[in-house]
Structure formats: structure tokens, C-alpha cells
């Protein structure tokens, strides 16, 4: 219980720091953001493992926890970012699931127009050229959001991109993408496969395009 409380405190503190660091002079620092994400992830894992241990005899939780915490974390990030008191929330698996529902109602509304929009000219034409295409909401991310209402399905849908569990940024990136969805015009219909980040690197490194600069402003802070 103590461990859980401490982990929760660290999580909310980390999110607060992340939010606060966006407002400092010089812009968000990538290294700092990464470090905060790492701490948040460790805290989340600790919190959830403590939770699992506490609830083990009662409720068998789904074994794959990493996709869920990212959603959970993004809820927290949103909650704090919208000026909720940092320690006002008491997340637990049950409220966490119900909290996922309301945003799931809004996001499809926002997500739906996206595939229909024509891609702006700055957008990289191919996903496989190793450019900054991963910075815009990918098809995979939208699948996750649409699947929020059915929490049981979430773990399954989130299985495909194993690399995602490694990254420290998915949650905050998604939060910021949602908040800045008006700025980021669209993403083209992306193939429902894992991003080819693990595949062979391109022979030539593509020059950073204007789009990347704009998108980078959001995701890379």
C-alpha cells in the first residue's frame, strides 16, 4: 500500500513536472522529458505490480499490463494538464477503465475525419523512408483509441507493435497530439502494420521537411 501510494505520488509529480517544463524558457528539453518519462514508467510499473500483488487473490488481472498503463498514464497526463490538482485523483483499475470511456467518445469524432482528409503537401509520402512519420498519429494509435470503450479488447489490439512498449514517449506524445489535433492536420491512411522502424534503415537520410519541424514542435517538444 505504501509502495503504491509512493508510486502514485511519483507518477503525479512526474506528470506535473512534464507539464511545467513545457512552459519554461527555451522550450521543452528532450533529455529532461525522456528522464521524466522513464521515472513515470518505473513508477507506473511499480504501482501496477503492487496493485497486482494486492489484488492477486481476488481478481486475476490481464497479464499484459504495459499497453494499459500507457492509456492510464495519458489520462493522468490529460487530467493534470487540464489543471486538475496533482494529487486529486485516485487511480485504480476500475475507475481507470471507466475514465477511458468518455475520452473514447470524443476521440472517434476527432479521429474519424482524419483518414478522409487529404494529406497536406509537407507530409512524407511513404512511411518506410524512415522520416518523422511516426510523429503524427499513426493508424495504430487510432486503433488503440477507438478500442478504448472495450477495455478487454485493448490488450489484444495493442499487441502488434512491441516496440511501442519500449518507447518512453507514447503517452505524452498521444496527449499532446490530442491537444494539438487542430494544428496537426491529418495523417494519411496508414497501413495497419507495425511501423518499419525495426527494419533496414534507408540508404539516404531524408532531409527534415517543414512538416517534420511543425510536428516536432509537438512531439519532440
Amino acid at each position: 500500500m505504501e509502495v503504491q501510494k509512493e508510486a502514485q505520488r511519483i507518477m503525479t509529480l512526474s506528470v506535473w513536472k512534464m507539464y511545467h517544463s513545457r512552459m519554461q524558457r527555451g522550450g521543452l528539453r528532450l533529455h529532461r522529458s525522456l528522464q521524466l518519462s522513464l521515472v513515470m514508467r518505473s513508477a507506473r510499473e511499480l504501482y501496477l505490480s503492487a496493485k497486482v500483488e494486492a489484488h492477486e487473490p481476488e481478481v486475476p488481472l490481464p497479464p499484459v499490463r504495459s499497453p494499459d498503463p500507457r492509456l492510464h498514464q495519458s489520462r493522468e497526463a490529460e487530467a493534470v494538464a487540464e489543471a486538475a490538482p496533482p494529487d486529486g485523483e485516485q487511480p485504480s483499475p476500475e475507475p481507470m477503465d471507466t475514465r477511458e470511456a468518455p475520452p473514447a467518445e470524443e476521440t472517434p469524432a476527432r479521429c474519424a475525419p482524419r483518414p478522409a482528409k487529404v494529406s497536406r503537401k509537407r507530409r512524407n509520402s511513404s512511411l518506410s523512408d524512415g522520416g518523422d512519420v511516426g510523429l503524427v498519429p499513426s493508424k495504430k494509435a487510432r486503433l488503440e483509441e477507438e478500442g478504448e470503450g472495450a477495455s478487454a479488447e485493448v490488450p489484444d489490439r495493442l499487441q502488434p507493435p512491441p516496440a511501442q512498449a519500449e518507447g518512453a514517449f507514447p503517452n505524452l506524445a498521444r496527449v499532446l497530439q490530442r491537444r494539438f489535433s487542430g494544428l496537426l492536420n491529418c495523417s494519411p491512411p496508414a497501413p495497419p502494420t507495425a511501423p518499419p522502424a525495426c527494419e533496414a534503415k534507408p540508404a539516404c537520410r531524408p532531409a527534415d521537411s517543414m512538416l517534420n519541424v511543425l510536428v516536432r514542435a509537438v512531439v519532440a517538444f
Binding site: 511519483i10 509529480l13 513536472k17 524558457r25 527555451g26 522550450g27 528539453r29 528532450l30 533529455h31 529532461r32 525522456l34 528522464q35 522513464l38 521515472v39 518505473s42 513508477a43 511499480l46 524512415g130 522520416g131 518523422d132 512519420v133 511516426g134 510523429l135 499513426s138 516496440a163 511501442q164 519500449e166 518507447g167 518512453a168 514517449f169 507514447p170 506524445a173 511501423p195 518499419p196 522502424a197 534503415k201 537520410r205 527534415d208 519541424v213 511543425l214 516536432r216 514542435a217 512531439v219 519532440a220
Partner: protein, 457 residues
């Protein structure tokens, strides 16, 4: 090799630990406790001869101190450092595309070796590197035919005779002028610059990329390292520091936030994404904690003068690596191990993110780094002794020998010891520099620069 090292330090003085006594020499900067943010020192660097000492601050200003020529009569102390030149290197800028302000804070200063009468240095903020020429003017031409002495042009019809202008002495003026501006090459924040041993090129590193520049060419640079993942969501580490090898112009290293150092050879390929060597120490499982990942981030990497070793600084320790051995450092020195149990509090007050630098002495026998409470630490690699000293105005009488300090980690506090809970975490020494040839050190507290030297009998 080892024997040679020890003999060398025996004959020339170990330069650290308890072997030499450090004395206060000077302190520069404002006395009052109310620190103006612009005056916070952000970098300190001696030039190659040690005659000049440059500091950069958060306000974008560079101040250069020059050592007075040694007074032969008063040989009990070395020359003092006095202000030689002050100039505004960088101004705050605004990136309109990203709606971000670009801080003017000077992140690093690096001196070029002196080739003529002028001095050159590179200074950088988050986005732009500038090459500055610092030159002296102690004479000026007088006796122009077409101009009056005050610069006004004479009416040509009044000129009846011709004369040759001559140089006449004037009061020494030190001028700093920006000779090159290297801009628009970094998307992320520049953390390092390093001049190559060819003295023609230099590298600049940001969080994800390292660029190679030619000192004469400002409109393009070569990208030599790029660790940006195709999908930013997969980002797991960033570049924290980079440096060229002091002798091999094809070799450089860069450190990461994961505690690894990669050595790259530019002859291998144009893009050095694949390292030649990877230096990494396996994590001690007994030390694993919540904040393990972030305290393993390397904040500074410095080659030894010999080029045989490199030193890295992470949050709690200093490690010396032999370039021939990748799997673990040859020496590890704990800077403030007593903080390991306080990491949570240090996370809360943001101190855990502090980036400490480290430096070698001229003979590579002693290393130095900063800590909290205005303490700084020196580790003698030969005697294995270490010392903790304090930069404080209380000891500011010249030639006052500094008393070693000790932090009491737990239990009964002895007299003159300071307990961990009494440490002032707002007083941190992040930047230190060691004179390349002598035992003179420059230690920067928040807004003051302290100069200490060893006791000369």
C-alpha cells in the same frame, strides 16, 4: 605504463589528494546573495596556455580573465586573473515557427589554439555556435590626409600637403568580434562542442545528432551521428556529451543518457551511427532503484590529455575508462554516495537532473568534479586519496589554505563534519576547470568564480 605514471607524479607532484594544499586566490562576481539569473555561470574554460580563463553565463555574456605576468619579485604566488574582455556573445532569439524562445545561455566555450596575436574561441547556446576573435589594439594610425582626428572628413580643397599616417601608441583595447556564425543546423538543444586536433574542424552535438563543421564554412555542416528513431515514440536515449580525441583527428566519443559511451571512427563511414567501440558497465543489481535509469545518465565526458583514457561523470560518480577496455571502467570514484538514499527528494527538488562536469589536471593524475553545498571533490588516481573542498567567501583571504570538508552520511556527526540533511542543494558546483599546466583551478558556484592555487612555498 603504470610505473611511468607513478614516477612522473612522484617527481612532478601528485597535485591532489592530501599531497598539495589548495589556497584561496581570488573570487569574481557579485557578493550579494540575491542572484540575478543572467549572472549564473554556465561554463568555464581555460585556454591552451592557461593564460586566459573564459566564463559564459545565462545572460549570454562571455567574460575573459587574463593572468598577470608572474611578478618575479613576489614569487610566492602566481599571477592573478583580471578581466581582459567582456562581450555579449548570444542574445535571446525567438523561433517563430515553433513559437519557442531560444535561450541566450552559453552552454559551452572552447578555445582554439593560438596561431597569431589574436585569440579565438567558440561559444554556443542551444542553437547557434559563434567563432569569436579577441584581439588587442594598442596603437592606432594618426595623421590621415582626408580625415580629421575625430573622424570627420575634411574638405578636399583644404588639403594642401600630403603625409603618411603613422601608428601611435594608445591605451590597450581588447576587441571581440564575431568572425563566424554557425546557425540553423540543430533541431534539438546543443550540449557540446569540441574542436578537432586538426584545428580545422569541430563537432557540435545536440540531443539526437552530431554535426561536423569546418571553421571556415558556416553555410553547411556534415551530420555524422544521428540517433533519432524513425518513430519518436521509440526514443529511449539521447546524446548528452561529445568530444574529439585529443590526438586522433578521426576519433570522437559521445555519451548517452543510458550511461553508455560510443567511440566512433570517421574513417569507417560518413555516418557514424555504428560505433567502433561501446563502453558500458553492467548495472550493479544491488544498486537498482526507482531512479537508476536517470542517475546513470552521463553528464560529461572528457578525454585525458594523453588520449589514453576518458572520464565520464554521472550523477553519483566519476569513472575513468581505458580506451582499450570496453566492458568496465578502470577506476570509479564516488562523488557523493550519501545521496543515493535521497534520490526521491532530489527528484522532487529537481536536483537529480543537475549536470555536473568533470576535468583532468595537466598531468592526468588528478580529476576534479563538483557537488552540492559548494563542495568540490578531487581524486588522485595514483595515491587513491580524495579530498573535499568548499568554495566559500568565508575562506577568502588570499593564500588561506582550504580546509578539507567531510560529509557525515549517517550516525554520529563528528565535529567539523556536515550532515547530509544540512547540505544546501541550491549551492551547486557544476562547472570546474583546471589550468593545463599548473595547479590553478577555477570553480564556478552559482554566480561566482573562485580561483584556487596550490600553496607555493
Amino acid at each position: 605504463m603504470f610505473l611511468k605514471f607513478s614516477l612522473h607524479s612522484m617527481f612532478y607532484g601528485a597535485g591532489g589528494g592530501n599531497d598539495i594544499q589548495w589556497c584561496f586566490s581570488q573570487v569574481k562576481g557579485a557578493v550579494d546573495d540575491d542572484v540575478a539569473e543572467a549572472d549564473i555561470i554556465s561554463t568555464v574554460e581555460f585556454n591552451h596556455s592557461g593564460e586566459l580563463l573564459a566564463t559564459g553565463d545565462k545572460g549570454g555574456r562571455v567574460v575573459i580573465f587574463q593572468q598577470e605576468q608572474e611578478n618575479k619579485i613576489q614569487s610566492h604566488s602566481r599571477g592573478e586573473y583580471n578581466v581582459y574582455s567582456t562581450f555579449q556573445s548570444h542574445e535571446p532569439e525567438f523561433d517563430y515557427l515553433k513559437s519557442l524562445e531560444i535561450e541566450e545561455k552559453i552552454n559551452k566555450i572552447r578555445w582554439l589554439p593560438q596561431k597569431n596575436a589574436a585569440q579565438f574561441l567558440l561559444s554556443t547556446n542551444d542553437k547557434t555556435i559563434k567563432l569569436w576573435k579577441i584581439s588587442e589594439r594598442d596603437k592606432r594610425p594618426e595623421g590621415y590626409n582626408l580625415k580629421e582626428e575625430d573622424g570627420r572628413y575634411r574638405d578636399p580643397t583644404t588639403v594642401t600637403t600630403l603625409r603618411v599616417p603613422v601608428f601611435r601608441p594608445m591605451d590597450l583595447m581588447v576587441e571581440a568580434s564575431p568572425r563566424r556564425i554557425f546557425a540553423n543546423a540543430h533541431t534539438y538543444h546543443i550540449n557540446s562542442i569540441s574542436i578537432n586536433s586538426d584545428y580545422e574542424t569541430y563537432l557540435s552535438a545536440d540531443d539526437l545528432r552530431i554535426n561536423l563543421w569546418h571553421l571556415e564554412i558556416t553555410d553547411r555542416s556534415f551530420n555524422i551521428v544521428d540517433i533519432k528513431p524513425a518513430n519518436m515514440e521509440e526514443l529511449t536515449e539521447v546524446i548528452t556529451a561529445a568530444e574529439f580525441h585529443p590526438n586522433s583527428c578521426n576519433t570522437f566519443v559521445y555519451s548517452s543518457s543510458k550511461g553508455t559511451i560510443r567511440l566512433c571512427d570517421m574513417r569507417a563511414s560518413a555516418l557514424c551511427d555504428r560505433h567502433s567501440k561501446l563502453f558500458e558497465e553492467p548495472e550493479d543489481p544491488s544498486n537498482r532503484s526507482f531512479f537508476s535509469e536517470i542517475i546513470s545518465s552521463i553528464s560529461d565526458v572528457k578525454f585525458s590529455h594523453s588520449g589514453r583514457y576518458m572520464m565520464t561523470r554521472d550523477y553519483l560518480s566519476v569513472k575513468i575508462w581505458d580506451l582499450n577496455m570496453e566492458n568496465r571502467p578502470v577506476e570509479t570514484y564516488q562523488v557523493h554516495e550519501y545521496l543515493r538514499s535521497k534520490l526521491c527528494s532530489l527528484y522532487e527538488n529537481d536536483c537529480i537532473f543537475d549536470k555536473f562536469e568533470c576535468c583532468w589536471n595537466g598531468s592526468d593524475s588528478v580529476v576534479m568534479t563538483g557537488s552540492y553545498n559548494n563542495f568540490f571533490r578531487m581524486f588522485d588516481r595514483n595515491t587513491k586519496r580524495d579530498i573535499t573542498l568548499e568554495a566559500s567567501r568565508e575562506n577568502n583571504k588570499p593564500r588561506t589554505v582550504l580546509k578539507p570538508r567531510k560529509v557525515c552520511a549517517s550516525g554520529k556527526r563528528k565535529k567539523d563534519e556536515i550532515s547530509v540533511d544540512s547540505l544546501d542543494f541550491n549551492k551547486k558546483i557544476l562547472h570546474t576547470a583546471w589550468h593545463p599546466k599548473e595547479n590553478i583551478i577555477a570553480v564556478a558556484t552559482t554566480n561566482n568564480l573562485y580561483i584556487f592555487q596550490d600553496k607555493v612555498n
